[in-house]
Subunit: 348 residues, 2 copies
């Protein structure tokens, strides 16, 4: 099952063409409380679709919300010939994708990401999921959307924080690709974004991810490269969620990238000038996630539960330098502790 990524400056026209060509017996749209009011009205082709609304935010990415979406699909008589359009950020596309993938063992769905992070994350790879018992994406499936419609149309009204959150994933892709791409993105000034340029950068960024995913759709090997920044980042994010102060996923990734760049430096001699450039960019644009030594045991525990780790081990993707990555590094507790210390020195 291939998914088609479409880049457009006219989402309504693109979506409308797909829906007309699909001969669906019902069209449903999953939106959150924000996208229902801000994005849906820009898509007249969904005028007659059944709207399923979920609360916004990471805290809604739960089994309860999923159950509600299943129930709503059932109540509107959805069949395998019906279509679900997921209109929102990563929470909506992850949860909606899982809902569609498991309803009657799978109905077609289209992702229309409305945030930069959603576009970078959801556009390729077919990962869906919900959080469960305090763990991120603990329940999910690999299930590609039939189409992903990527556009910057919805971005100008987003808070700057949302743009930065997505940008962290683009940074990750650039670090996996080349030092040129990496330093090029570090030139970005969030106070004056050109959205056409951003759509081009987004296309480049997604291509990097596509190349990696194509080699390994079920994350058996090479795809683990995309985990860069995420072992530590997920731990920051899960801890923040458990403490009742959720942080944006992209921010967690930015801080995770810094910590894992430190690990890369300690273990694989990742160049210090690349590390300092990253840390300085992250510190000035993202601030810091504040932790103390007392938080380390909890963070390590979460990392050991990461989906990509073997039981009891912490597994990271690291870099020799930008563009030269190494997957499946088993990290000792001492190294993680040292890296968290240095992260705090650099950013916190």
């Amino acid at each position: 099952m291939q998914q088609q990524v479409l880049y457009t400056s006219n989402v309504n026209a693109t979506l409308s063409t797909i829906i007309e060509g699909g001969n669906y017996n019902a069209v449903m749209v999953l939106a959150d409380s924000n996208t229902r009011h801000l994005a849906l009205p820009q898509l007249p082709c969904l005028e007659n679709a059944t709207v399923i609304e979920m609360p916004s935010g990471e805290a809604s990415k739960t089994l309860d919300t999923l159950t509600g979406v299943w129930r709503a699909m059932q109540q509107c008589g959805a069949t395998r010939h019906s279509l679900l359009v997921n209109l929102g950020g990563g929470v909506v596309t992850d949860l909606g994708g899982l809902a569609a993938a498991t309803f009657k063992r799978g109905i077609p769905f289209i992702n229309v990401p409305t945030t930069l992070l959603g576009a970078v994350d959801a556009a390729v790879g077919g990962k869906t999921g919900i959080n469960f018992m305090g763990f991120k994406n603990e329940i999910g499936a690999f299930a590609p959307a039939c189409h992903v419609i990527v556009s910057t149309t919805f971005f100008p009204t987003l808070p700057e924080q949302e743009l930065k959150a997505g940008f962290a994933e683009m940074l990750k892709h650039a670090m996996l690709s080349s030092s040129e791409s990496f330093f090029h993105l570090l030139d970005t000034d969030f106070s004056c974004i050109n959205y056409d340029t951003l759509l081009d950068q987004l296309r480049d960024s997604i291509k990097i991810k596509e190349d990696i995913v194509r080699q390994d759709p079920h994350e058996q090997g090479p795809r683990k490269a995309l985990n860069l920044g995420h072992t530590v980042g997920h731990a920051f994010e899960a801890k923040a969620l458990a403490d009742g102060h959720p942080i944006p996923h992209g921010y967690a990734v930015a801080w995770g990238l810094v910590t894992e760049a430190v690990l890369s430096h300690l273990i694989l001699n990742f160049p210090s000038h690349q590390l300092y450039a990253l840390a300085s960019f992250v510190k000035s644009n993202y601030g810091a996630f504040h932790i103390t030594c007392d938080d380390y045991p909890h963070l390590l525990d979460i990392m050991r539960h990461d989906k990509k780790s073997l039981a009891g081990e912490i597994n990271c993707t690291l870099l020799h330098s930008c563009g030269d990555y190494s997957i499946n590094n088993t990290i000792s507790n001492d190294d993680i502790t040292a890296a968290l210390d240095i992260y705090r020195d650099l950013v916190d």
Copy 2:
């Protein structure tokens, strides 16, 4: 992802070889209250596995049970390198398969069906699922087990009803295959079963299913052949469940086969001698599912919600004769009503 079906008279030896070769960091076994006490002790290779127990029976095939299995897997620290062995009938393999397919976006699992129906149903096809809001397998995924271990070892202690339930699916496969296979199975005498012969028949039956599934893993077309007997059968089963008097799935299929053979006769001239032979075998071995005209609207409503139907239409696989099937027949309310009337005359 291919799944390997292994036929054996020594389940423990076969399972043991797979587990030793798999290098899993944890092995879990999902059993129900029956198989935990009757089947698990026959498998010493699972001595050190973490046992997850669920209640037996169709009424346990729920989101609540699924959530409990996810939680148990999480609590024993399962990762993508852990293995789940589903030891039980169709309820255990369907629910356990879904649990494994969605835990951390998919961990490997092995099905060890302990009932004839479980073996015929679970051995190929990779369908998993739970019931939801009164509908059978409403939530699920296509997720093949890495291995299915088929054996008749556990059958002699089963109630005769369980054997008959599984036999109905074998009957379905024979009807899809040829009139020779069909009449051969009608010679079966449930009071004296030879289990070695049954293992051979089971292998033949599963081969018929495999051939069909191979053409169409995601049920877009030809696989719908396997739906024979199931549009009506599922409706009988769902109605019985909703009424609080659940019936075995296989019995529902047997009665569904009769009703759909009637439809086949009405619409495609399915030979009357085949219809009468089937009805007589079903009546004497399965008895009847009692319905009245008052039940028709509810039954039709359930059929319209079937996963294989377009909204509002009832879709059946029918037969010109045994071995010559036709998928995607849209059935009118009048024809269903007539067929249910005749079913009652023949069997009830």
